[in-house]
Amino acid sequence: MEQHLEIEQQLWEYIDGICDGADTQRISLLITTNALWKEKYQYLIALHESIAGIEGDQPSLRFTKNVMDAVSTAHIVRATKQYFNMGVIRGIAALFILALVAVLVYAIALAKPHAGNAAVFPKLNLTRLFSSGFLDLIVCINIVLGLAFADLLLRKKRLHPSS
């Protein structure tokens, strides 16, 4: 039984034209020389031709007119890629990479001080930079931006609930 299924699977792939060159030649030979393969091939090719001959269902005669009426008031949206300015994206990426490289270099330089070669890198006083006042300001700005963005999103969803 399994052998029959295996034969049929190979024959289907052969008939559908989706097996590779070597298999195609092998199966062609089997069809001409092997009675079982030939019988199955004849059955399956008839079925394949029937399936391939199926026509799709047709919508109503007014279908094209209905579609064209609907698109007459529609606008073609700009291609998605045009929404993104690649220069800006590359700039942001470059900023992050530079910042990472700078932090890495600074960390390595501080971690490996050379006796004869005084490190030129000054030690940054980060506590002064990240004072509570400065942090509060950053957090406030982020909260305002987050709220503005949430408002934009919800407004858009309210106006276009389907999207």
């Binding site: 049929e8 199926i54 949206v77």
Partner: protein, 191 residues
């Protein structure tokens, strides 16, 4: 590929503002889109509405078609998402969707009263009816391969499968179709 270049020409003309050029695409693919939609919802009226939605969406987003694949492949993705959205909204009890699986509707949905059986004389009609008894996923696969003439690789891209998986599923779908044909119509159809 002259067919692909015809489609690209019609798309370019449409993008340049010649709306009537879009009608050629609609005429060419309406059967394809409608048939696929019918596989999802099994209701001609609803399928026609969905097919219409598909073409309107395709028109609106025509600028996003890059030409890397066949237009029919791109169109299929719109059919798929549109039909799934509809099904999820309507919770059609004929077809229940579970992620990527679609469950077959029961045989009773397709009326098999004696008068209809008498009418099912032609081979094509028998095959169409047999297709209707396949699971939506299998019917869809056969439609994509035989009706839309998508290659195995293209179907793989559409369905998110490897080419090998597509081949196996195609084989299994045709096996099931054969079993349906044998059980419902005997061997009169083939051979």
């Amino acid at each position: 590929m002259p067919e692909q270049s015809d489609d690209l020409l019609a798309i370019q003309m449409t993008l340049q503002g010649q709306q009537p050029a879009y009608a050629t695409l609609v005429n060419k693919y309406q059967s394809y889109v409608f048939t696929l939609a019918l596989r999802y919802v099994n209701d001609r009226e609803v399928a026609e509405e969905l097919a219409q939605d598909v073409f309107v969406k395709a028109y609106r987003h025509l600028a996003d078609f890059k030409g890397n694949s066949k237009f029919s492949t791109w169109l299929y993705t719109i059919v798929h998402t549109t039909c799934l959205s509809h099904i999820r909204k309507k919770k059609d009890d004929a077809i229940l969707l579970e992620e990527e699986k679609m469950i077959t509707i029961s045989d009773n949905r397709f009326s098999q009263n004696p008068s209809e059986r008498m009418e099912q004389k032609t081979q094509k009609q028998m095959l169409k009816n047999a297709l209707n008894h396949l699971s939506a996923a299998d019917a869809q696969l056969l439609t994509l391969f035989y009706l839309a003439e998508q290659s195995v690789d293209e179907i793989g891209i559409i369905l998110g499968l490897t080419a090998t998986n597509v081949k196996v599923r195609l084989f299994r779908a045709t096996q099931k179709l054969r079993e349906i044909l044998k059980s419902r119509y005997g061997r009169e159809l083939i051979g």
